[in-house]
Subunit: 258 residues, 2 copies
Amino acid sequence: MSGAQDRGRVCVAGLGPGDEALVTGEVTQALSEATDVIGYIPYVARIAPREGLRLHPSDNRVELDRARHALDLAAQGRRVVVVSSGDPGVFAMASALFEALEAGPSAWLDIDIRVLPGITAMLAASARAGAPLGHDFCAINLSDNLKPWDLIEKRLRLAAEADFAMAFYNPRSASRPAGFARALEVLREACGPERPILFARAVTTPDEELRIVSLREARPEMADMRTVVIVGSSRTRIIAREAGPILYTPRSAVEAAA
Amino acid sequence: MSGAQDRGRVCVAGLGPGDEALVTGEVTQALSEATDVIGYIPYVARIAPREGLRLHPSDNRVELDRARHALDLAAQGRRVVVVSSGDPGVFAMASALFEALEAGPSAWLDIDIRVLPGITAMLAASARAGAPLGHDFCAINLSDNLKPWDLIEKRLRLAAEADFAMAFYNPRSASRPAGFARALEVLREACGPERPILFARAVTTPDEELRIVSLREARPEMADMRTVVIVGSSRTRIIAREAGPILYTPRSAVEAAA
């Protein structure tokens, strides 16, 4: 342990969905010990500057460059934190780091690498709306940058057949607006028009917006790249209240005997 | 806002997988304001006693009683925290609370209810092992207390066909040891014997044990009720290192062109 402070290391840390009260103590500690913080511009903007800390904000879609940069700095003995929003292991930087590690020089295999989990967007959204992911569920990245659209559609159909609740990351971008419209069509067909769908935008930030509608009412423009979308299973229910509806999935897959 | 402190409320809070450094500030704050803490005995045991705080530990399998108790105390004006391990919205107390709410007196609909997310076991396990859930995945509760075994088996087969990585909660209990053995058979058949499987026991606690084997080598007794199990997708890879293997799923669903 005594050499640990002298050896370089990379922590891939999850900052959670936005609210600082959702950052874990483990992540705060790693940031306080860091010499370098690397990440997408808006995430690095959340880190308070201090003496001895170098911030390396970078643009989106350069995940592999960012990962190599982190490993390279750590190989030089620096204590690097790569910041992700949400959880770094869910459609975020941890996989990119391991891709870079596997393709990189074998000396990188000696680097101390830790993944520090965070509150991922779907679970923050679920908590704000109730508990729609309280029974079996799946998480699908709707971006077709890294997989063919046919595979996305196949997964939607199989997930509906399995009667999973479903959480969708990256539902919609300006560069491919048609994909999410098509996903909604597939879901309406596979789950029926009455199934509830939650659009949770910018959860736990001042811009938060939650909207629960039926698949019949759902429109592609209800989502943007700051939105996580959750579709209920056949068991998912809405409790109407003055303070706003609660969306939840009971623990049991079958109707209670009582 | 001024009346908020006088009105009763229920927070359903996630304590994370075990390490206190993984508890969020939001949960710590809610506990510091609580008059009553309700939960399963080992989770309530994690809460430090203090003047003015009543602890209500209860046995397992009484989730609905516990939920009603929490709502009843809040209706009397108390500030109640229901503690779950992990995230309360993932196979935990949040759904039970909403079931009790829906079946209870209509006056309960005025109670201030908040779900405070936590680090759920599968994401803590994923972080410790690498990033096996870095691409599309599903989460399945293998307990057949609340659903028929046929449905579990159907979901396993559909999840394999969708090529999801899979996380399993409650894989095995003394009362139904045969279920998990059968699940492993189904998975071997559907995913092939070489597919990696992670047994992550008591993650982030002093009892933590991580074990990565192939489905061929997997044995039911590698899991107990403190274990979360993750099976990779067809893309999941292992990086061998002196410090221990890394299990991760690349971001792309297809072989990289480069």
